[in-house]
């Protein structure tokens, strides 16, 4: 792990020397996120988002734990207990708005982090395991966010739970027993609410565990960088601390600025007014939509409106939705180009900016829209492109594209941008 020129941890007083011999925790931190971890010197601000995701998770865990002290996971009082938090608990409104908007911030950060990985080819060898663990974290996040949204037990909570558990009902033969088993009843009720609360409390800690594996796997080859050229010599790197702790600090300040703007000025902008109506199993809201971060996947789910031979449309939609994420696990083998960074791949870059990016934005827009024309046909076309991009276009580009010449080293790339600068060691 790490490069031979990494700074070595030196305990500087009697206590840290004592500790280092018995439990070398400070040494571990020093090597993981301190001066002992050499990082490419050319990282841009897109490389902030891993640390920011960690910050967002911590915000969710802290606000979540205190909210759980005031919340009651029982069908008849859950909605009232959320109102109690909003009106009676000291600073309860702040904690709940921070937790609800914190989920949105977490997804904004993670989507940017995934975007970074897709553009700069961070999923390529030797970092496939980092990518796979990241996708596992993403799936866990989606499950956690979904179950958390059910807890206030408003109309969107209830109907969201019904629609999402209904997805499992699409599985042939065993679907309905699975759905009943997941819910502990024939429709979402107290049993479902309780187990969702239990799992919503548990999963963030599972995520924390997978994040440790994610960072562990990352630190074996070390961080990637915007050129996609691997680190060769000491002058290609700078120590994580203080260089990137400072740079991440700038990102964190902007993160909290946006976060605070949401909490204090637009706390309900990303939510749905229907969720302030208590859950009513007898009346469906006119327009059921999930939270914004699920829109692209919801659009793919709804894009299938006709049966395909013996496969019912409903099952096709469910399979496509899960496939749209599982597909990403195969990305390291679908994109076979040896060049990582999109900067040096002219064809890849065109399809990325003019194909994949608009496609996902259009899917998100359709997922938040009602299930009617023209949104249905648009989501069908966008879904088709999404799958074609990864399964057809990307493998073909990787074979036919002539990449631009790569710099010989990170240092050369950095100095090329600063004419007149002399080649000298970093630091």
């Amino acid at each position: 792990m790490s490069f031979p020129w990494a700074n070595e941890y030196k305990p500087n007083n009697a206590f840290t020397r004592y500790l280092d011999e018995r439990l070398p925790l400070p040494r571990f931190v020093y090597n993981a996120v301190g001066a002992g971890y050499p990082v490419p010197r050319n990282l841009n601000y897109f490389w902030n988002f891993g640390v920011l995701a960690g910050v967002a998770l911590m915000v969710q865990i802290v606000t979540g734990i205190v909210l759980a002290m005031h919340y009651a996971a029982e069908g008849t009082v859950a909605f009232a207990s959320v109102e109690h938090i909003m009106r009676d608990v000291n600073a309860g409104w702040f904690l709940r708005y921070a937790h609800a908007n914190g989920a949105s911030m977490f997804f904004i950060v993670v989507y940017t982090h995934i975007f970074r990985g897709l553009f700069y080819g961070s999923y390529k060898p030797p970092r496939e395991m980092v990518w796979h663990l990241g996708l596992v974290i993403f799936l866990l996040m989606m499950a956690t966010a979904f179950m958390g949204y059910v807890l206030p037990w408003g109309q969107m909570s209830f109907w969201g739970a019904k629609v999402i558990t209904g997805l499992f009902g699409a599985i042939p033969l065993v679907g309905e027993p699975i759905q009943t088993w997941l819910l502990g009843g024939f429709a979402p009720d107290n049993a479902a609410l309780n187990r969702f609360f239990s799992l919503h409390y548990l999963l963030p800690f599972v995520i924390l565990g997978v994040i440790i594996l994610h960072i562990w796997a990352l630190h074996i080859p070390g961080s990637s960088n915007p050129t996609g050229v691997e680190v060769k010599t000491e002058q290609d790197t700078v120590p994580f601390h203080p260089y990137y702790t400072a740079k991440d600090g700038v990102g964190a300040a902007l993160f909290f600025l946006l976060f605070a703007s949401l909490i204090f000025f637009a706390p309900n902008m990303l939510g749905h007014p229907d969720n302030y109506i208590p859950a009513n199993p007898m009346s469906t809201p006119a327009h059921i939509v999930p939270e914004w971060y699920f829109w692209p996947f919801y659009a793919i789910l709804r894009a299938f409106t006709v049966d395909f031979f013996f496969i019912p449309a409903k099952l096709l939609g469910v399979l496509a939705m899960f496939a749209s994420i599982l597909l990403l696990f195969f990305l390291p083998w679908l994109d076979t180009s040896a060049v990582r960074s999109g900067h040096y791949r002219p064809l890849f870059r065109k399809f990325f900016w003019f194909g994949l990016v608009p496609c996902v934005i259009i899917l998100a827009w359709c997922g938040g829209a009602p299930a009617e024309e023209p949104y249905v046909i648009i989501s069908q076309l966008a879904s088709a492109y999404y799958f074609a991009h990864f399964l057809i276009i990307l493998p073909i580009i990787s074979r036919v594209e002539t990449p631009k010449p790569l710099p010989n080293s990170i240092t050369e790339a950095v100095l090329a941008q600063a004419p007149g600068a002399k080649l000298q060691p970093a630091e």
Binding site: W159, K162, V163, T165, G166, L167, G169, A170, T180, W181, L182, G184, G185, F186, A187, D189, A191, R195, P281, M282, S283, T284, A286, H287, I288, R302, F304, T305, D307, P312, A313, K314, L315, G317, A371, E372
Partner: protein, 188 residues
Amino acid sequence: MASLTEDSATTGEEQGGVRRRDFINVAAASFAGVGAVTVVLPLINQMNPSADVLAAASTEVDVSAIAVGQAIKTIFRKQPLFVRHLTPEEIAAAEKEPVSNLRDPQTLEDRTKAGKKQWLVTMGVCTHLGCVPLGAAAGEIKGEFGGYFCPCHGSHYDTAGRIRKGPAPTNLQVPEYAFTSDTVIKVG
């Protein structure tokens, strides 16, 4: 394991390359495996509906007050149940459509009780993803086929509650029920 293997060489005679220690290892691991599975079963089964949920599983409905052309929404197993008093025109519309044209082929007779085909009793749960279709209460839109319409993903049901258009795979479910008298049905 290496030291165990060496020890076991002295514990007994070999029979066709199989040592007594091999048998003990397999037996112990199998026994522990069966024990683990036995413990996992209650951990999984606790998630199934509990006794009190299953106990509230049947309901009686008095249909005498439902006028021709009217429908009511009631509750069965914590889910909406539609009871609809079909008009002669609605019955004719349902019977006119050839069954072979349907996604889930069923006649109106299949979906109602003998001699009571004006009473359509179905779950008010869209077979797509479980929303409550519109069309039971007065003034709600009934969709292109005059039956029910699900606003979530646009499934249209006809006057026999059969799926005609949209993503739902099957007709609205007809629960198990029986007429206990001319005007009372027992569902479940």
